[in-house]
């Protein structure tokens, strides 16, 4: 059983950049373009890994540590995540708190690395990232609290095992609210429209992209890969909530879950295509809204 739970990390490490490709393809289709190859993110990462690096004279070791720690933290966070009915590699009470705080560690290093350049653009991005993530955290942890209350269990693996069709029949609306909150968190944490625009070319309006403006070569490859894995992580959370797989056949479970992942990526692509990004001042409202949705789910569960 335990060996099967090792499959997910490998799948994630292998397939995460493909999610970016799917999103971009969906956006291209919506815009009437042919779009870049599905495997473009892999090509980018491979190319960047072969390059040298240019460092600003202002920067210190913090700037170089940022990408490494960022990627490490996301990989470590993946270890507690259950997938396709298999439990996480490590599973214990409140393991999701460890997951959330490992992502927090990654963010701390990204922000510090951005401030290390001394550029006001990157400071601007860092400041926004700090603000928005502080608001996204309650939404995520309260949403998980709702799921924990629903299943009366405390580890992610148990929570998602308990979340089956019967649970959907009983408290479907509450779970749907949690899913909505998680979807908002997914978009915000992965710097997607309507919170951030990964394609913009104007430093003044960017958040995540502007923070990594000065990174290049292998460092940027790490960042790109880390971002893909983070997207995978949040998408997997969402898929776990929305698509509880219960079949006894393991390959079928994996097939269903993977389909779910790509459906989630298509969903993100659709949102990016049909929505404009919000004004920065409106973003906190969206995130507080997500926290309210989580709270509402809790109220429904406690009723």
């Amino acid at each position: 059983m335990k060996l099967l739970s090792l499959i997910h990390p490998f799948l994630a490490l292998l397939l995460a950049p493909l999610l970016l490709g799917v999103i971009n393809r969906v956006k291209a289709v919506f815009a009437g373009r042919r779009g870049q190859p599905l495997l473009q993110a892999y090509y980018d990462i491979w190319k960047l890994l072969g390059k040298g690096a240019v460092y600003s004279r202002t920067t210190t070791w913090v700037f170089r540590a940022g990408p490494v720690i960022g990627l490490t933290a996301v990989i470590s966070a993946l270890m507690v995540l259950p997938f396709a009915g298999q439990s996480g590699v490590i599973s214990f009470s409140c393991d999701f708190v460890v997951m959330a705080y490992l992502l927090g560690l990654a963010r701390f290093f990204t922000i510090a690395a951005a401030l290390d350049t001394g550029s006001s653009f990157e400071g601007m991005g860092a400041s926004r990232e700090a603000q928005f993530s502080a608001l996204a955290e309650p939404a995520l942890l309260l949403g998980l609290a709702a799921l924990a209350v629903q299943s009366s269990s405390l580890s992610l693996s148990d929570i998602f095992t308990q979340l089956n069709l019967q649970a959907w029949m009983k408290v479907g609306p509450a779970i749907l609210l949690v899913a909505a909150a998680m979807a908002v968190v997914l978009l915000a944490e992965n710097s997607r429209i309507p919170v951030d625009d990964p394609n913009t070319h104007l430093e003044l309006t960017m958040i995540h992209e502007v923070m990594v403006l000065d990174h290049g070569g292998p460092d940027f490859a790490y960042i790109l890969y880390g971002a893909a894995l983070k997207l995978w992580l949040f998408a997997a959370l969402l898929v776990n909530v929305l698509m509880p797989v219960q079949a006894s056949n393991v390959p079928v479970n994996f097939a269903v879950a993977l389909t779910g992942m790509f459906v989630a990526a298509i969903g993100v692509g659709v949102v990016e295509s049909i929505m404009a990004r919000l004004r920065l001042l409106k973003v906190p409202q969206l995130l507080v809204g997500a926290a309210v949705l989580s709270t509402l789910a809790l109220v429904l569960l406690l009723r």
Binding site: S56, R57, V62, S76, S93, Y101, S133, L140, S153, L154
Partner: protein, 665 residues
């Protein structure tokens, strides 16, 4: 020999050493510092050994000596709870002393007095946790307040320092008054002023129990820095010399927590309302503390507000523990108190470290305003690295110590939330919300503090000319920084060492706690596993990064500046600009004032300016009006005091006559 005799001998040694230092200081001897620091170090070592023994073995010792004071007996005791608080006091003061040897100006006449105050402060803190009798406790409490008052007033040539010291003196005495009321209340109903006689507090009439809890909450809460009693912290901490700030913030305010926990041990099962109150105060202190911290640009003030936040987290832990006791959920009670108490230790380590770091910055540049600092990591590599570790730890990020205690509290909250107990669920969910918000905002505050001070380019000439701290200062910071990951990795062993402390608080024998301990140790070990995995992956990725074909091909350039030709260090984001969005978002809580004088005309003549401050609302809206009213009331009484001695004699005579009439009536 009784180990307490050793401990008391240690206390006497440090006090005598302190006064000797003051004596030599007046004569400007070069031994002033050596005598002060080494006597303190020896005293701390002498106090540390029996404390560790007690914690290790779980055996308490008591000692009663004759003491010729009315109602007073010199009754001291060392149980696991006292020992648990005494260890960080000894450890941090010890490191602070060596730091202070380099930090304090050597040519000042007051240096000796600073040592006398410091040693007296440490000795009195230790006496506070040892005292087992009300009068002795109050005496130690008062010495502690006065010693720290003199230390806060060390740079009394500055007006702001004098004001801070004055505010602190008032706060400390209001605290002492409430504690005294608490003790006399307990003494009145039990007929004894000895702590041993109070342990059956639950037999008190129920209303009295609540009054006692309220008195303890205010009296000890002022010292601990609970919101809204926190207003002295952001004034006093920046004013004191940095190693004193470290000791005050790291361990002195914890004597308030100690007092509160000690009072809680007098009651077997606290009512639910106590737990709710503590959780409520904890969340309020935590969220408002971190928000005000974000709004500060003075580095030491920022750290002081973070103490409010961390005291809030400790209160949340204690509150969850109380709720666990009231509802009979032993696992919740266990992790609540374990998380709260472990956070006491953790906060002593990282807040001590951060204050020492801030002191090194102040020592090197003379600047506390973060908006004028920057780029210090290059000039001060050791201070920078240790400050970075402290920042990560205080944000509660894995794999450092702050995470472990916060995780225990999170676990308690989630555990309570899924318990389907109507009295628990709302408060537990509030804790989840509060802790999540605190965590995110603390990360914002410390990326700001570290990023603006140590990264980027220097924003002023002083910052550009900074130099690294001396060897003793560096050593003190490095040792504390090493403790941050150490405590996290050894968390399960530390928790096992804490078992006797928790059995004291929870009124059960240590054997009963085995199952809770096992469950907690299980998930702490899992966290250690993830931490080790994290370290392994980090090393692998670093090695991969090194072995890549382009690894040798590294160039230096300038930061991308959008093609702008002449960027200057003043164009960087500052601390204020970094925090502005969050400040604006929470303006309804912070009520910050800003004042803008825009440039006027095509060729502005007058200088444009913008200032923004976040004065404490509690101070403005609550304390200020109260003290104004008191002052106004007292002004009427002032006619009685006019300096004419013959009239004073008349007052005395009139009083005597009045009393005589009253007696003969």
């Amino acid at each position: 020999m009784n180990s307490l005799v050793w401990m008391l001998a240690g206390l006497i040694l440090m006090v005598v050493g302190g006064f000797a230092s003051a004596f030599f200081g007046v004569r400007r001897s070069r031994y002033t510092r050596q005598i002060g620091a080494w006597s303190l170090a020896a005293g701390c070592a002498m106090a540390m050994i029996p404390s560790c023994q007690t914690l290790w073995s779980g055996v308490s010792v008591q000692l009663a000596l004759p003491w010729p004071i009315t109602l007073g007996t010199f009754h001291v005791g060392l149980d696991p709870l006292s020992a648990f608080f005494a260890i960080p006091i000894c450890g941090l003061s010890f490191l602070g002393a060596f730091y202070g040897m380099e930090y304090l100006p050597s040519n000042s006449k007051a240096t000796g007095f600073a040592w006398a105050g410091y040693n007296l402060l440490v000795a009195s803190m230790l006496l506070v946790v040892l005292a087992r009798q009300a009068i002795l406790f109050l005496t130690a409490w008062e010495i502690m307040a006065l010693a720290s008052f003199f230390l806060v007033a060390f740079e009394n040539e500055r007006e702001s320092v004098r004001r801070a010291a004055w505010l602190y003196l008032v706060a400390a005495h209001v605290s002492a008054a409430f504690v005294a009321a608490l003790f006399f209340c307990l003494g009145h109903y039990t007929g004894s002023l000895d702590f041993d006689a109070w342990s059956g507090g639950s037999s008190l009439p129920s209303g009295i129990g609540t009054v006692i809890f309220f008195l303890a909450l205010v009296g000890f809460g002022i010292k601990a820095g609970f919101w809204p009693f926190h207003i002295w912290l952001p004034e006093a901490h920046p004013a004191a010399p940095s190693h004193v700030s470290a000791v005050m913030s790291g361990v002195m305010i914890k004597t308030g927590i100690y007092g509160l926990v000690r009072v809680l041990t007098f009651f077997d099962t606290p009512p639910m309302s106590w737990g709710w109150t503590l959780v409520g105060i904890g969340i309020t202190s935590g969220v408002l503390g971190v928000l005000y911290a974000l709004a500060q640009s003075d580095l030491k003030r920022l750290l002081a507000y973070h103490s409010v936040e961390n005291i809030g987290i400790i209160a949340i832990g204690l509150g969850l523990g109380c709720l666990g006791l009231s509802t009979g959920r032993s696992l919740l009670a266990f992790v609540g108190f374990a998380g709260g108490l472990l956070h006491v230790l953790n906060h002593a380590v990282f807040k001590g470290l951060l204050f020492l770091g801030a002191g090194s910055v102040l020592h090197a540049t003379g600047i506390r305003n973060t908006n004028r600092l920057g780029g210090l990591l290059k000039a001060m590599p050791v201070t920078g690295r240790t400050f970075f570790i402290g920042s990560l730890a205080i944000c509660g990020l894995p794999p450092l110590n702050g995470f472990v205690s916060e995780f225990l509290i999170y676990f308690g909250a989630y555990h309570g939330a899924v318990a389907f107990h109507s009295g628990l669920i709302v408060s537990c969910l509030a804790v989840v919300l509060g802790m999540a918000l605190i965590g995110g905002l603390a990360a914002a505050a410390f990326t700001k503090a570290f990023g603006i001070v140590f990264l980027g380019e220097p924003r002023s000439r002083e910052a550009a000319a900074a130099h690294e701290a001396g060897p003793a200062m560096r050593a003190a910071m490095t040792i504390l920084a090493i403790f941050c990951p150490m405590i996290a990795l050894l968390a399960s062993s530390i928790l096992q060492l804490m078992a006797p402390v928790l059995s004291t608080v929870l009124h059960v024998s240590a054997g009963v706690l085995t199952s809770q301990l096992e469950e907690t140790v299980y998930f702490l070990n899992q966290i250690v596993m993830i931490s080790l995995f994290f370290g392994m992956v980090a090393i692998l990725l670093l090695l991969l990064r090194r072995s890549l074909p382009g690894a040798k091909n590294v160039e230096s350039a300038v930061t991308w500046d959008c093609g702008y030709a002449r960027p200057s260090a003043r164009m960087q984001y500052t601390a204020s600009s970094f925090a502005q969005p969050i400040k604006a978002l929470f303006a309804f809580l912070l009520g910050s004032h800003s004042h803008l004088t825009p440039p006027r005309g095509i060729l502005p003549q007058a200088i444009a300016s913008f200032t923004s401050t976040a004065p404490d609302r509690v101070n403005e809206r609550f304390y200020h009006p109260i003290f104004e009213a008191i002052l106004k009331g007292l002004r009427r009484v002032r006619v009685l005091q006019h300096g004419e001695v013959q009239l004073y004699v008349l007052y005395v005579a009139m009083t005597l006559v009045a009393l005589l009439i009253w007696c003969l009536r």
